[in-house]
Point group: C2
Chain length 300, copies 2
């Protein structure tokens, strides 16, 4: 990917994130004396950075579909809250037992296990509070359907289901089929929601919904395989987390099942499918297409 | 309380619970091969019994306000899911570290810590899925407002906030004022939601909403003080959990702050206030009034 496009993509993501973050942080801005620790703990992880990939994707789809950004913003914030809570709980000693996340000590390392569990709970709950408080110009029935789309993605038939398969697969031989199911749920479901929630809010037609779903699912797969590759050849400094952790945890990944060369090839294939699926939107989808190429070619 | 009324109340609660439980259990009835453990773990705690106090209260308020039971049922299920998830997470080693709940091994004792954390997450998420999937005759805008009422009660300004104060108070001297705030949030917020959610769904007027709120808050206080008293003089057999656990955990309770006699007096006062607040509903509120007396005089 040429350097000029890379820079443009970085700037684009930054500009969306810059509009998202003040609204995201407002939810943890509370300073109530007795309960302030929970806002600090939740805020600590919310503010720890990250690419804001999911909410940025959602805002870009909102634009593609002609929605007002402010109408989708509560959902974008909720999506990032859900993603963040899942990281906090994933890092817990009983789960992946990670000390470092995005270059900083994990939540339980700073606030203790009890508060980290509660901070995760609080962020998931906050997501539900945020989307149900939304005052917008979209009919309430559609907002309710979008709430359902979001929480279906984060629940047992989505992200949590993926996490269950992940936990139960540790230390076992895992088939490619199971690995695909795992990734489609664990990482894929929230990325899928980033596209489908605005589609529901905009009452997109079947063809559009299908195209958006295809883009998200293929992007999710390519993104995850890139992640597996980065775990092997990335460096702790660049990624801000332990590398080689998959191997240390005996986790089956695309790389361990298919090898690096085939994995690189799969990234390219999935990315190509993601890009092609948006053809029905014409030029309006140019940025989303570039984003897919940018994200799946990242080196950190 | 005379024996005949007690029996009638028990039967009444049972009949509401009997209509609730099949719908509650349907949410964890999934049998998907790869993710079945999460449904088993969530179902284990959902089915572990308990009084179903919160959803039964909600269904009784729905009846008082003339709502169709089926329109409120998803919220009643969600409320019990939220209550159950909070118990699973409260019992974790990092929190209260309890081995026994409702006479059975706690969730993490059966399914392990990782799965117990996920089962809690899953139930909270399921609550959001359930209320947003509701197809009912109530306008969507009001349903959305009721969703917000529910998750405000379970979040950092409600139940989670109370849990934070609880954790931070352990081993410290706690004032009566802080203890009241703690209880009003930790136990009180969900009981409050049991009344306020149907009020929002029914578009109750200000006076009704205030009366219902008063009933719930006073009932919640009386209920909690009764709980503190039972922890002292109850028996493990009757309660199905360790007794004397408050003292062992050095937790401040109404009993430790005010003594048993004063605590008994407070139960009576709060119960009286709860009962009186429903006067504006006339005879229609007779069962809810009896329920308050029944619940706050319980011996197990």
């Amino acid at each position: 990917m040429i350097e000029r496009v890379k820079t443009a993509m970085k700037e684009l993501i930054k500009s969306y994130a810059a509009r998202l973050e003040p609204q995201l942080y407002a939810a943890v801005g509370e300073k109530d004396g007795l309960t302030k620790t929970i806002y600090e703990a939740a805020g600590y992880s919310l503010k720890a950075g990250g690419k804001r990939l999911r909410p940025v994707l959602m805002l870009m789809f909102a634009e593609l579909l002609g929605l007002a950004e402010q109408d989708v913003m509560p959902f974008a914030c909720a999506l990032e809250m859900i993603h963040t809570y899942s990281l906090i709980h994933d890092d817990l000693p009983a789960m992946d037992n990670d000390d470092l996340r995005r270059g900083k000590p994990t939540n339980h390392k700073v606030f203790g296990e009890a508060m980290a569990i509660l901070a995760g709970d609080a962020l998931l709950n906050m997501a539900a509070e945020t989307v149900s408080a939304a005052r917008c110009s979209i009919p309430a029935g559609r907002v309710l359907a979008a709430v359902h789309e979001l929480f279906s993605a984060s629940g047992t038939k989505g992200m949590i289901g993926g996490q269950v398969i992940d936990i139960e697969s540790e230390g076992r031989a895992v088939s490619l089929e199971t690995l695909q199911k795992l990734q489609l749920l664990k990482t894929g479901a929230l990325i899928r929601a980033a596209g489908r929630v605005p589609a529901v809010l905009a009452a997109a037609d079947e063809q559009q919904l299908e195209a958006i779903t295809q883009y998200c699912e293929n992007l999710g797969m390519a993104f995850q395989i890139r992640d597996d590759l980065l775990d092997v050849y990335g460096s702790t400094e660049e990624l801000g987390k332990r590398i080689g952790s998959d191997e240390a945890n005996q986790k089956t990944t695309y790389v361990s099942l298919c090898g690096m060369e085939k994995s690189e090839q799969l990234v390219e294939e999935y990315t190509g499918k993601a890009v092609a699926s948006l053809d029905i939107f014409g030029d309006k989808a140019a940025q989303l297409k570039e984003l897919a190429v940018y994200l799946t070619n990242r080196r950190s």
